[in-house]
């Protein structure tokens, strides 16, 4: 992979809350079109790191650029160039599928024609044409999740952040969900994903594992398994997370 196609550059990024160091000097790069797994036990500092990368919270020290924009001064530009999907399902339940798409297209400032063509395309790809005017509340969870992802990349962001996107979804739907992720990556969208499912970690190009606010390892799943002499990512994660002092 070329060196100048980095879309996330992080250098000693740190966030302190009083005495507590939530994220401790993490340094890493993510390349364009890469699927980057961001792993760690609960309380390891993933959410805090992700909030800084999304421009939601300001770092205490360190440097980071997202899509070429600075996390301290250019948060507005960052927000325009990223998509976000959270672990909580986050579309509006009492809006129809179409209205949700139109709303999110609207707040991202897409033109009416663009929203229209995107809506048609999305409904076709997801096979939701006949459900377009149904309330989102009536869709099964798997579909909601896929729709939620599609809405997160509606404005063709450079990077999409997924915070435990497949929580509570059955394995088949999860597999389909990952098909969507691969498709997005093929279109050149960088995927930054957190998950607790280790089988999903194997789908990533590279993964990092955070322990107690620090980024302990960063490599491809194959290399990680090799260096930890583990058969699965599960074992790698377990070996690392066992040493953690924080947690819930």
């Amino acid at each position: 992979m070329m060196q100048d196609d980095k879309v996330i550059v992080c250098e000693k990024l740190t966030k302190r809350f009083g005495d507590f160091i939530a994220t401790n000097e993490i340094t890493f790069n993510v390349h364009k079109g890469e699927i980057f797994g961001f792993l760690g036990a609960n309380g390891a500092g993933k959410t805090t790191a992700m909030r800084m990368l999304c421009g939601l919270s300001s770092p205490s020290s360190g440097k980071a650029t997202i899509a070429g924009y600075d996390v301290y001064t250019q948060t507005e530009l960052i927000k325009k160039n990223i998509g976000y999907m959270s672990q909580k399902f986050s579309l509006y339940e009492n809006l129809t599928v179409r209205e949700n798409i139109e709303f999110f297209g609207g707040i991202y400032g897409l033109s009416d024609e663009r929203i229209k063509s995107k809506t048609d395309e999305l409904l076709r790809v997801l096979g939701l044409k006949s459900e377009a005017n149904k309330l989102v509340a009536s869709l099964p969870l798997g579909w909601k999740q896929k729709l939620s992802f599609s809405v997160a990349v509606l404005h063709d962001p450079q990077i999409v952040f997924l915070d435990e996107p497949t929580g509570g979804v059955d394995p088949v739907t999860r597999r389909q969900f990952w098909d969507l992720i691969y498709e997005a990556a093929d279109r050149g969208i960088t995927v930054f994903v957190t998950t607790h499912y280790m089988d999903e970690a194997e789908y990533c190009n590279r993964i990092s594992i955070m322990v107690d606010g620090r980024m302990e390892v960063l490599d491809t799943p194959t290399n990680l398994k090799h260096s930890f002499q583990a058969r699965s990512m599960d074992e790698v994660f377990y070996q690392l997370a066992r040493g953690a002092k924080r947690g819930d």
């Binding site: 939601l56 325009k80 959270s86 579309l91 609207g106």
Partner: protein, 368 residues
């Protein structure tokens, strides 16, 4: 701007699709106006009274016609014993009994003194007082009529004028009160709940990650409730003018301007609550206990503030609805203009700015 419109449209979908919200929004003000206007009235209207006329002479007949011609009473005549009167009261059908003793006219003519007995059902003290007062004044009136024929050296007749509300309509006090109440409920509670709901469902996070400015999120959430509250003000005013016969004496544009100011006060309060709370239930509880109760108690709409102990009178000053209530009452009933109300308006304006400021400030802190 386009983003803002997309947001506002979404907000209207939310409101219009939620039946419970709609019911609170539009059902409640109408129900309150009608309930306060017709059911909870403390006027005496068409009260059933029983007349026991032992005299059956000229004077008793004249007096009876006088009582009957007022719109307050429906007269039933009967010849009953004292025991029977008591049992009719127990059935609860009549509010009062007027008893003319035998020789009423005689006494009046020859002794210059006659007696009429008024018996009222005092289980409801207010009504009993009101009825006996009305009856007494009718009797007094009759007495003056009779006296007018005689040559009396001096006589003082108090002429009472009930200013601003000559017919003593109960509606006068409560329409401004209901307005304050409804606006509080709609603007504070609904705004707080709708913002907190976004936090609960996780959509707030998505909105904050979007390029849509956080402050605009808050304004876009509040805007529809401003519009809906103004619709409510209009509805209440229409009901009060056309159903309750209570005209707006002062300037309608001024009334709307003051209402808009108060709505913004309420929205700021709602926003503040929503920033400080994490669940819809808590937001609702705080809005109800913290905002609605003080409005009921301290606006002067149900309980006169002058009768309260001094500490409570002082507290009442920090309740925005009190000032709004005064303003609306003055405009609607007394027909006062801004030149008489600038003080109250300034207080309300100050409260609004203060609330907006601290809401925006705590919102910024949360974002960190």
């Amino acid at each position: 701007m386009k983003q803002f419109l997309a947001f506002v449209r979404k907000e209207f979908y939310h409101v219009l699709r939620d039946r419970r919200t709609l019911l609170i929004l539009f059902g409640m003000p109408i129900a309150q106006i009608l309930i306060f206007g017709f059911a909870l009235t403390n006027e005496v209207k068409d009260s059933e009274i029983l007349v026991v006329d032992y005299a059956k002479d000229n004077a008793s007949w004249e007096l009876l016609t006088k009582i009957g011609s007022s719109r307050y009473f429906n007269i039933r005549q009967a010849a009953l014993s004292h025991q029977e009167i008591l049992s009719t009261f127990r059935q609860g059908k009549i509010k009062a009994v007027v008893v003319f003793p035998e020789g009423f006219n005689e006494d009046l003519l020859h002794h210059n003194k006659a007696q009429v007995q008024l018996i009222a059902d005092a289980t409801d003290v207010n009504t009993a007082n009101m009825i006996t007062n009305y009856l007494s004044s009718i009797i007094l009136d009759y007495q003056n009529q009779v006296n007018a024929n005689l040559q009396m050296p001096y006589r003082i007749t108090p002429e009472v004028r009930m200013l601003y509300n000559p017919q003593l309509k109960g509606a006068h006090g409560f329409v401004p009160g209901v307005m304050a109440l409804v606006l509080m409920l709609v603007s504070v509670m609904m705004t707080a709940i709708s913002i907190v709901r976004e936090k609960e469902t996780g959509t707030m996070e998505i909105l904050l990650v979007s390029p849509f400015k956080p402050v605009l999120v808050i304004f876009a959430k509040a805007f529809p409730y401003l519009a809906l509250s103004l619709v409510n003000v209009t509805a209440i005013l229409l009901l009060s003018v056309f159903v309750l016969d209570l005209p707006v004496k002062g300037s309608v544009p001024l009334l709307f301007a003051e209402s808009t100011l108060f709505i913004i006060t309420c929205l700021a309060l709602g926003i503040f609550i929503s920033i400080k709370t994490e669940s819809q239930q808590i937001a609702m509880l705080i809005s109800l206990m913290g905002m609605l109760l003080p409005t009921m108690m301290f606006s002067g709409f149900l309980f006169p503030i002058e009768n309260m102990p001094v500490p409570l009178q002082v507290i009442s000053n920090i309740v925005p609805s009190k000032w709004f209530y005064i303003i609306v009452k003055s405009i609607m009933i007394k027909g006062l203009g801004i030149s008489m109300l600038w003080k109250e308006t300034l207080i309300l304006l100050g409260m609004t700015l203060f609330l907006l400021l601290i809401s925006l400030k705590s919102f910024k802190i949360r974002l960190q």
